[in-house]
């Protein structure tokens, strides 16, 4: 009897039946699948399973170890949560896509070789694009196209890297690669696109806010976190990534401050939070890798919670901009959603007793252990920014706000949405107060005390300082209805400008060639052929002019001028044809005479 099957098989195979189900049966089936997948995960023994040969290559469909399992768990849990959150949907399409997307993400984390990984990687990109398109607006269609183009470029980079790597290393197995050789650079580039490392991040804040309220949950959970997994597997300890991650963390929070769209603001916080993880991976110690994995786990929970609760506002009010919501007193109309949002916001800010506190603390602690002062400060700076914009700014302007004349119709979202968010909030707090659940599944054994009194106090102080600053400059923070330029400008506007810049010289060149080859050259040739003798005379005259005595110059110039004026008429007197005949006869006579003599 088969004791376990690859976890992605349950999702991808299960997705095939979703379109044929309806009503309560569909809902039961949808909730049953992740539960089944979870039971299957618990049953999976560590090691390599489902190894097969394909065209001389060894494919490892399932590699189960301490690094892939935590990602597997959270992917299955989050699929379950988003299913609860979207049970009110009538259409089945998004569920099927979610299963394929979640299944392929799980496939990536359990893939033991590059070929399997690449196949799931591409399925992931395509299914995510269809989820973005689910919103059926022009904006979502355009954003989806940009999303798929960006990810196909990433996929091609990855494929190129894999081919070079497999050729040079001689094995398809996906293990620690590190930065050595061309292949690894291409692979890192492919991974970096999915990890949204600036300047390759613009697809994320571009596409995620355009996705449907329910579908955005899948997007926040899978793509960037699989990238974190593959980076942790292949590039742990690459110092370049530590600095990149710290930069990402700061970049994300600065851009988040500029946003007016709630979910775009949160999208920039994904960039920032993934920065923490990438930084941990770059540091590469056991503590740092543990921190990165734990943070990915926590991040999936609270970020999905944040997307779900802001999504609920959009679902109920139809408004997505803070400048449209500020002052509409939603806290009176949606108090439960507000509480759930606040739990998510406190988690992402790393407030004690929330899951963000224990996982972010590990990465900060790891930077301390390695005495990376500047990275430590950059991450601290990013923590301040996270608390400032998610827990204070977004919360204040979406639920409270100062503009009191605004009336927005609102009520609590459907019960299944509340249940989905409630369960996530419960998990955030559960892990926050009982971190051992999370610590037990991390890749390395852990020696870390999250709840030291001094640490709790210093965190509270950091956040109270931020709160103080917020109160001082709250007026500066009012949302403005603006969008901000980011690197997507390069392909949304810059490409058009580049084309027009390139067009001008090219069209000029082509027109020039046209004029010379098809116009000037033939006409001057035809003109020259009318009287080549006169031209020769003019040319000779010019040569003579150079060497002529001064008194003769006048005369030569005059001759040239006459030739030019009369061209193409002949200036010299023409001899009658008889002269030519006479000359010919004379010539032949001389010839005849010499022949005889």
């Amino acid at each position: 009897m088969v004791e376990w099957i690859p976890p992605w098989l349950i999702f991808i195979f299960g997705a095939a039946f979703v379109p044929f189900l309806k009503g309560r049966l569909r809902n039961t089936y949808l909730l049953f699948l992740p539960v089944l997948a979870f039971l299957n995960l618990i049953n999976m023994p560590e090691g390599k399973g489902y190894v097969m040969n394909f065209l001389d290559y060894r494919l490892i469909l399932c590699r189960v170890d301490n690094l892939s399992l935590p990602f597997g768990y959270i992917f299955v849990i989050i699929t379950f949560i988003i299913f609860i959150f979207s049970l009110h949907l009538k259409e089945n399409k998004e569920f099927a896509l979610g299963l394929v997307y979640g299944g392929s993400a799980t496939g990536v984390v359990f893939a033991g070789d590059f070929i399997t990984l690449f196949i799931f990687w591409e399925i992931m990109a395509v299914s995510a694009t269809f989820i973005v398109w689910g919103n059926k607006t022009k904006a979502s269609r355009d954003a989806g196209f940009r999303y798929i183009l960006f990810h196909l470029v990433g996929g091609v980079c990855l494929l190129a890297g894999i081919i070079i790597q497999v050729y040079t290393a001689g094995t398809t197995e996906f293990n620690w690669t590190g930065l050595n050789g061309t292949g690894s650079y291409f692979i890192l580039l492919g991974f970096a696109i999915n990890a949204a490392i600036p300047p390759l991040h613009a697809w994320l804040p571009d596409a995620y806010p355009e996705a449907p309220v329910t579908g955005a949950g899948y997007l926040t959970a899978f793509t960037t976190k699989t990238a974190v997994y593959v980076l942790a597997r292949g590039f742990a300890g690459t110092e370049f990534l530590a600095w990149t991650g710290a930069f990402m963390a700061v970049y994300g929070i600065i851009y988040a401050m500029l946003q007016d769209d709630m979910r775009r603001l949160l999208s920039y916080h994904i960039v920032s939070q993934v920065g923490f993880m990438v930084c941990g991976i770059g540091l590469g110690t056991a503590m740092a890798i543990n921190g990165a994995v734990a943070h990915a786990f926590s991040n999936i929970l609270y970020k999905t919670l944040l997307f779900m609760s802001t999504g609920s506002i959009i679902y109920v009010t139809g408004k997505r901009l803070l400048s449209d919501l500020s002052g509409s007193d939603l806290y009176k109309k949606m108090p439960v959603t507000l509480v759930l949002y606040t739990i998510g916001a406190f988690s992402i800010s790393g407030i004690p007793l929330m899951n963000g506190f224990i996982s972010k603390g590990m990465i900060m602690y790891a930077t301390g252990l390695q005495l990376h002062g500047s990275i430590h400060l950059m991450l601290g700076f990013a923590s301040v920014g996270t608390f400032l914009s998610v827990a204070l700014k977004l919360c204040y302007f979406a639920w409270f706000g100062s503009n009191k004349e605004r009336a927005v119709e609102a009520k609590e979202p459907p019960i299944n949405m509340l249940a989905g968010m409630g369960f996530t909030a419960f998990l955030c707090i559960l892990i926050g107060i009982h971190p051992k659940i999370l610590y037990d599944i991390l890749p390395f054994a852990l020696d870390y005390q999250p709840f030291k009194a001094a640490k709790v106090i210093s965190t509270i102080l950091l956040l109270s300082g931020t709160g103080l600053g917020f109160m001082l400059i709250i007026k500066k923070l009012s949302p403005v209805p603006r969008i901000s330029l980011d690197t997507d400008w390069i392909y949304r506007k810059g490409a058009k400008k580049l084309i027009s810049i390139m067009e001008i010289p090219i069209t000029r060149l082509v027109a020039g060639i046209n004029r010379v080859v098809f116009d000037l050259l033939p006409s001057s040739l035809s003109r020259a052929s009318k009287n080549p003798l006169a031209l020769l005379k003019i040319a000779l005259g010019k040569v003579f002019l150079q060497f002529a005595a001064p008194e003769k110059r006048e005369e030569i110039i005059h001759r040239i001028m006459t030739e030019k004026e009369n061209y193409p008429e002949y200036t010299i007197k023409r001899l009658p044809i008889g002269t030519s005949v006479l000359l010919t006869v004379l010539f032949m006579l001389i010839y005849l005479l010499t022949y005889y003599v």
């Binding site: 500029l258 301390g368 210093s458 109270s464 969008i483």
Partner: protein
């Protein structure tokens, strides 16, 4: 509201003073020895972030919402 404020100020003062006395701090960097450093860092970082972001936005990055058409 004023009551809430006084409660908060009290808690705030309490945590600041606790920061001076509680032992067992992980000290990796020199600035972590300064008591109450984090509150200043939080305040300064908060103001810096808003200042940097807003000036970047106003001088360079902000565009009208229909900029991309």
């Amino acid at each position: 509201m004023s009551r809430l404020k006084s409660v908060f100020s009290f808690l705030f003062a309490l945590t600041v003073s606790l920061d001076f006395f509680i032992p067992g701090k992980d000290v990796f960097f020199i600035w972590e020895k300064i008591p109450g450093f984090n509150i200043l860092f939080g305040l300064a970082a908060c103001i810096a972030i808003v200042f940097i972001a807003k000036s970047l936005g106003e001088k360079w990055l902000y565009r009208k919402e229909d900029y991309y058409g």
